[in-house]
Symmetry: C2
């Protein structure tokens, strides 16, 4: 994969530092990536962004073992946060979890909420790794913000402290929900999506869900989807039907080299 | 993951043999799976299915090293092929390709068409492995058919021999297409979806696409999606808006054990 979609830029990096100054210092990890992975020399042009400042051109001013310095150039884009869209998820096996975080970020989630359910194994959850995956997916997908990763929350607490009236959309394999297409024609953003663990929700969790006025159980068609597939499908459908799916692509691709 | 969604059945297997007889022989691979992976004993109940006969109960009649025999019981479901939905894809890196095939199968594709483009590396494509992934995903997602995997076809030939008027939906990152939600309100199934390789389509391929009256370029929102994410998103949106997304789940899940 290319480090950036824009052939004029050698990389696209999320940086926390304010971008309206003349120069910023990069941390060791990002310096290492530019110098040893992408093998960029001083003077190379890259793009840097964060949700507060938008996206700027930058060039490598100095590259050393302890860190690099970037000279900040012209602003390329105004700041623009992703519209609110939450994914609440019970952590699943590592490879599937990583892919789910990557794809949820590409699809524009603003907030990722790990949920501890009865059948969840939290040992496998490394919040820091999930954050790194989200940053990389934000960089590659031309986002201007990185999704927030919430602290893990217990399932019952998630429901008890819910920010009403935000609808919480849950896939329902029992046939108890309206098809997602019909259900969404009745809802407006912002919404949240919830997916369970590999073993499904426990009986008392299903009963708790059924008692919440903000929960919308939806049908996802005749086939049974894995948790990660269900999450990606629901997010894609939400964006296309009531999200920012009608917004034009942020990056106008140059024709690919032939 | 559970070998089956139905707690009354120890496994769910796709088998080619006719299911209307009294007994069938299982090949070595499936026999090995039942005996050594699931550790099932003679008498264990499983479900077997294929597109021609539907789904039947079966029990293990004899298990040996060279193969097992199944006694076929009552029919559980009438045959029901998935509605036509094609995914045409330029093969991508192995892990992403495998996940794309799995998720496309869960989402109900009827036909998977590997497409050779200028930026495609076909060395990495093992059609037999893709077939095995599709069978496993069909078994776990309660499908009654397995997607057909077509022989790889050259990009120009795919377009030149296209089965008009079937619309071919292509994600467009240049802003040249209507948003997918709006585009689909104008289309009816069956449709096909096309995704390119990691490096994108070559310039002459983009020009070829632009000349086809059956190609519908669609916008997928402001962010740039990886090829596998775009494929999964487009298939999910197609099913929800003009596919079988309104059909009830085939499997009525028993409450999960608590």
């Amino acid at each position: 994969l290319m480090p950036t979609n824009d052939p004029r830029m050698a990389a696209r990096l999320h940086v926390d530092a304010p971008l309206d100054g003349r120069e910023i210092a990069l941390d060791e990890a990002r310096s290492h990536y530019l110098r040893n992975v992408l093998r960029l020399q001083p003077g190379a042009r890259i793009a840097v962004f964060n949700a507060r400042d938008g996206e700027y051109e930058a060039s490598i001013a100095a590259a050393g073992k302890r860190g690099s310095r970037l000279a900040i150039g012209a602003r390329r884009r105004e700041p623009a946060a992703e519209p609110e869209l939450w994914l609440c998820f019970a952590p699943i096996k590592r490879a599937r979890l990583d892919a789910m975080i990557e794809k949820a970020t590409e699809l524009g989630v603003s907030r990722l909420v790990p949920v501890v359910t009865q059948h969840t194994n939290m040992d496998r959850v490394n919040i820091e790794r999930l954050g790194a995956i989200a940053v990389e997916a934000a960089e590659q997908s031309e986002r201007l913000s990185v999704p927030e990763i919430a602290a893990p929350v217990d399932f019952a607490e998630l429901l008890a402290a819910w920010a009403r009236p935000r609808p919480l959309i849950v896939g329902d394999e029992t046939g108890g929900g309206a098809p997602i297409g019909a259900a969404l024609s009745d809802l407006r953003a912002p919404v949240a999506v919830l997916v369970g663990p590999e073993g499904g929700f426990a009986r008392r969790e299903i009963e708790l869900l059924a008692r919440q006025d903000f929960v919308r159980r939806v049908g996802l068609g005749p086939r049974i989807l894995k948790a990660d597939t269900a999450a990606i499908a629901m997010l894609a459908i939400v964006q296309a039907m009531i999200g920012d799916g009608a917004a034009p692509p942020r990056f106008i691709a140059a024709d690919a080299a032939s």
